[in-house]
Amino acid sequence: MNAFSYVTAQTAGSAVELVRERGRFLAGGMDLLGEIKDGLAEPAVLVNVKALPGTREIVVAKDKVVIGANVTLATLAEHAEAKKLLPALAQAADAVGSPQMRNVGTVGGNLAQHSRCWYYRQRDVRCVKKGGSRCFARGGENKYHSLFTKNMCLSPCVSNLAVALSALDAAVVVQRGAKTVTLAIAQLYERAWSEPKAHHSLAADELILRVEVPVAAGARSAYVRIAEKNEFDWALVSCVAAGRIEGGKLRGVRVALGSVAPIPWQVKEANAALEGREPTAENAAKAAERLLKDAEPREQIGYKIPIAQALVKRAVTALAG
């Protein structure tokens, strides 16, 4: 690791000021410390944001659950009300890394984590994500990469929470300068869709403060994934379906795929294909077809398509309860 100074921010306002001196926000550190050790980041200062007031709580209100950015993944995974109201989110949190990682890794950190692409993580590879001119995964070893992207970089968004929050139609409250702004999950990642260097839409001095997840009566959700190993492994593909069941029909349904694009992958037409229909395998297959319509099964990535189809089926049918 390069040498850096360290400071604990007392308020979000000062955190974003302190970080401007070539700094990085430090929460759980699971991603950041690895980046520094591998020479991918050389911050002058680490701004510890764990002391920010009000960022460690999960508050359950009538119509939403507000989750502080510093809530650990373990806390979220084990939170009784979150498990009941937002099962997909709790399951997604429980599927992150290992127990030790979940004990320190935070909600904010999981959402803002950087690419795990093995070219990006190689100290000596200067790929397009690091300001170079090419994506080495294109035509290279890309079995863990994206089926969809608008830019040159093929690395997918691997945040478990992003997939769940996308399907749950959540919003993220971000400190931007002296103000806070609220972003939809799609907005939180939209830059990564078009800009190869972006991991998400946030600037270096923008900080996630909390996540707000709407909760409607009778809402259901399910998280399913497949990885090569049973635990402590990155999902090859993950899927979250969320919605309500009214009279046996799906309402307000959204399906998102993870690890297939630089953003959590949602397609309006796919959701529409399920709206007002029963959560059957046949209907799920139609939704999956629309979700995967523009997939580019290049080189080693094509296998993600049948997996995604199967996961959509399992997530949607799981909503039947």
Partner: protein
């Protein structure tokens, strides 16, 4: 599914501003340049602001005093902020029980407890562990007496080379405190972040079950010469 940016509830003041009501930069500037402004803020605001500004003074990158409470004992070291908890424990505190095996939060050999919760010491800064009760493997046996889990690890042979053992013991110690009678699946889930290349997992799971008073039967069948001669 999109929302308009900024349509959520207005931010509360405490998140953005110093307790004094001014932004950090404005506050510091005003203190430095205008006694009048400072006076106008009132003594309470100034002292709050000063306390915060003081708390927000960056330390390092050179070595700074770092006080760690390890196995109940407070120790102060001079460490650069970049020093990890594992480096501090092994290199400075002389506690080599927690092992360095990957240095990237991928194997669990460095696991210690922070306020009773298992963490990877390789992937946490020592400076961040200040104020927490740190328990290392050296702090588990009391007066040379092995814990029930440690005894079971030995008796059930929950180890081979033993390099992963300290991490396994830490994770399982935390598990058993929280869940005194874990199922086999719960034990496996708890040690999912700890790798053992020798493949001792079946016996580690057996040890955790035995330590919690549950059956940890062997899957070994011993067939005597007589029997297999007949077969």
């Amino acid at each position: 599914m999109k929302r308009n940016p900024g349509d959520a509830a207005a931010p509360s003041g405490s998140e953005v501003f110093l307790a004094s009501g001014l932004s950090r930069r404005t506050f510091l500037k005003s203190l430095g340049t205008s006694a009048v402004t400072a006076a106008a803020m009132g003594a309470e605001q100034v002292s709050q602001g000063l306390a915060q500004a003081n708390a927000e003074r960056p330390v390092g990158p050179g070595a700074v005093p770092v006080t760690l409470t390890v196995n109940g004992e407070k120790k102060t070291f001079r460490l650069e902020p970049r020093v990890t908890l594992l480096e501090a424990l092994r290199g400075e505190a002389g506690l080599t029980g927690a092992k360095e095996a990957c240095d990237r939060a991928t194997c669990g050999a460095c696991t210690v407890l922070l306020d009773g919760t298992p963490v990877y010491a390789c992937s946490m800064l020592a400076i961040e562990a200040q104020g927490a009760e740190i328990t290392t493997i050296e702090g588990i046996a009391k007066n040379g007496e092995l814990s029930a889990l440690q005894k079971a690890m030995v008796d059930k042979d929950g180890l081979q080379c033993g390099y992963c053992s300290p991490g396994m013991v830490m994770v399982l110690t935390a598990l058993l405190r929280k869940n005194p009678r874990p199922t086999e699946a719960e034990v496996r889930h708890a040690i999912a972040g700890n790798l053992c290349r020798c493949g001792s997992y079946p016996r580690i799971v057996a040890a955790a079950r035995a330590a919690s008073g549950q059956s940890a039967g062997t899957k070994l069948t011993f067939i005597s010469s007589h029997d297999h001669a007949v077969a």
